[in-house]
């Protein structure tokens, strides 16, 4: 019968709608199961995993010394030309000339956080930082010099 089938279909539709709405009502009454993070408000408590690839940094110790030898392995590994190593020659007390970095220029605007430079570095001089709020008002601020002014290479790093 057409009428019976019609009523059955309407009843089935109402029932399946109610099933879906029951799930909505469940979360309406169970606030603790909601996992939404209120991002800008939870900045203090936000912890990013240690492997998170935010930007490339060069760690310095408390004597303002880094581990970079200026071998340009990172520059060669980078697919986008993000890193430029500018080297100079230091004159050691003995009178020998030694290659060292003058500036390690890092273009954050070109970087795709692919981690290839960190993998290529033979002396663990650079690593990935967990920062992620990179917006600035001036494009020039995205070009960074990774070594601190007046920094030296650590003793024993070849």
């Amino acid at each position: 019968m057409f009428i019976t089938k019609y009523i059955q279909e309407v009843w089935g539709a109402v029932r399946s709608l109610a099933t879906g709405l029951r799930r909505t009502m469940y979360y309406f009454t169970h606030h603790k199961e909601i996992i939404t993070q209120q991002y800008p408000d939870n900045r203090e408590t936000l912890v990013l995993p240690e492997r998170f690839k935010g930007e490339v940094i060069m760690p310095h110790d408390d004597k303002n010394e880094h581990r970079c030898t200026g071998c340009t392995a990172c520059e060669l590994a980078c697919p986008n030309g993000t890193i430029k190593v500018i080297t100079k020659f230091d004159i050691k007390p003995e009178g020998k000339k030694k290659k060292a970095i003058d500036k390690l220029v890092y273009h954050l605007e070109l970087c795709t956080m692919c981690n290839l430079c960190v993998q290529a570095c033979p002396s663990d001089a650079i690593k990935m930082a967990q920062t992620f709020e990179h917006s600035v008002f001036d494009r020039g601020l995205l070009t960074k010099i990774l070594n601190n002014p007046g920094s030296k290479i650590m003793d024993g790093v070849e």
Binding site: E9, G12, A13, S16, L17, T19, G20, R22, R23, T24, I35, L48, P49, R51, F52, K53, A77, C78, P79, T112, M113, C114, N115, L116, Q119, M128
Partner: protein
């Protein structure tokens, strides 16, 4: 030449969908010829997000070009990287350590689940159900958090490299994946409650966009789109790579060929991915996660082809090498392009309102179609 606006000489109306349209999930432009509400022709226009990835790869070395492929099918970035890494390894004749193989397969399957979750939420939103989107993203966020902890990124990981993977698994990885499996099994019932069993949804999907097995083969459809028509095409089963030959899982086949069948294939495929992860997660072998490779990779002269099963179908990577440090030519056979080309075939004779349901179940990712 075809007209892009106005009325054809036969009196049919031409309607443009996109390139900026929320249901196309990207910059896809469809020129639809309508007779009343019946679709007479659908013409997809591409080129709005063409970044010449294949040409870019020719100037990058074999380690560097892998990161670009994450930007093709960004929802299965791991699997794209995996295909490239496998193809380079084929040329280098490098044996990948067993630990790296298991890690790769685990991450691939997690990516597949995450991709299907996003498809499920986005497709439901296209046809008018808004709530499933948030439920899908809850599970997807858990996977993204696992990825973030191990690979350092949520979407474009660049974790696979020729010879293995970039880093070892994070110590928390096993525990977190196990808790995800528990969460998934606990929440899978909600999916059926919210959408699969809904009568409005069923009526909108059933017998809409019917794709016959013959058409699926002749248009080159792969992945869940073809398996919804009963065409067996799972590369993981037919040409097993890595450890897929040793794990026990089913190839999901549905025979309907309509939108509902394609939907059910993906829903059931997620459970098979969970099954693969469950088999591998406890027995991750000890050893290296990376094979020893040279500092500068050089492929011997020749041609290399590797195909893998992404979340959307068969991805093929074809490398022509002249013996140098960069590839001479790279070609990607992307699953989305073939799956999109069948849209005109299945949409003809259908109604305009059903077009979104058809597009949704083809699972189109535009940057993958338009490399």
């Amino acid at each position: 030449m075809f007209e892009e606006q106005g009325i054809t000489p036969e009196g049919d109306l031409i309607v443009n969908v996109g390139p900026q349209h929320p249901a196309t999930h990207g910059v896809l432009h469809l020129v639809i010829t309508l007779n009343g509400e019946t679709i007479k022709k659908v013409e997809p226009h591409l080129g709005y997000i063409h970044r010449s990835i294949e040409k870019m790869c020719e100037s990058l070395s074999y380690r560097q070009f892998i990161y670009v492929t994450s930007r093709m099918d960004y929802l299965s970035a791991h699997i794209n990287n995996h295909a490239c890494a496998l193809c380079v390894e084929k040329g280098l004749q490098v044996e990948v350590p067993p630990k790296a193989q298991v890690i790769r397969v685990l991450l691939d399957e997690l990516t597949r689940i995450a991709s299907h979750e996003l498809w499920w939420g986005a497709m439901a939103m296209d046809i008018g159900a808004f709530t499933p989107f948030f439920h899908a993203f809850r599970e997807r966020e858990t996977i993204n958090d696992i990825m973030e902890e191990t690979c350092g990124a949520r979407l474009t990981m660049n974790f696979m490299m020729p010879g293995g993977v970039m880093q070892d698994l994070h110590p928390n990885f096993q525990a977190r994946v196990k808790s995800f499996i528990q969460q998934y099994k606990h929440k899978i019932g909600e999916y059926a409650e919210l959408l699969t069993g809904n009568i409005i949804f069923k009526n909108r999907m059933k017998n809409v966009g019917v794709l016959s097995p013959e058409d699926a083969i002749s248009y080159g459809c792969t992945g869940p789109t073809a398996r919804g028509s009963g065409v067996s095409c799972d590369i993981r089963k037919l040409y097993p790579y890595e450890v897929y030959g040793q794990v026990d899982f089913d190839e999901i086949l549905e025979t309907g060929g309509d939108s509902l069948s394609r939907y059910m294939v993906r829903i059931r495929e997620m459970q098979q991915s969970i099954r693969i992860i469950e088999q591998l997660i406890d027995g991750i072998p000890e050893g290296d996660f990376q094979a020893k490779t040279k500092a500068v990779l050089k492929l011997p002269k020749g041609e290399f082809y590797q195909r893998v099963e992404t979340a959307r179908g068969e991805l093929g990577v074809y490398i022509v090498s002249e013996g140098g440090t960069t590839p001479y030519r790279i070609k990607f056979r992307s699953p989305g392009f073939s799956n999109l080309s069948v849209l005109d075939r299945i949409a003809r004779g259908g109604k305009l309102g059903d077009l979104v349901a058809m597009m949704g179940t083809l699972d189109l990712v535009i940057p993958d179609i338009d490399r």
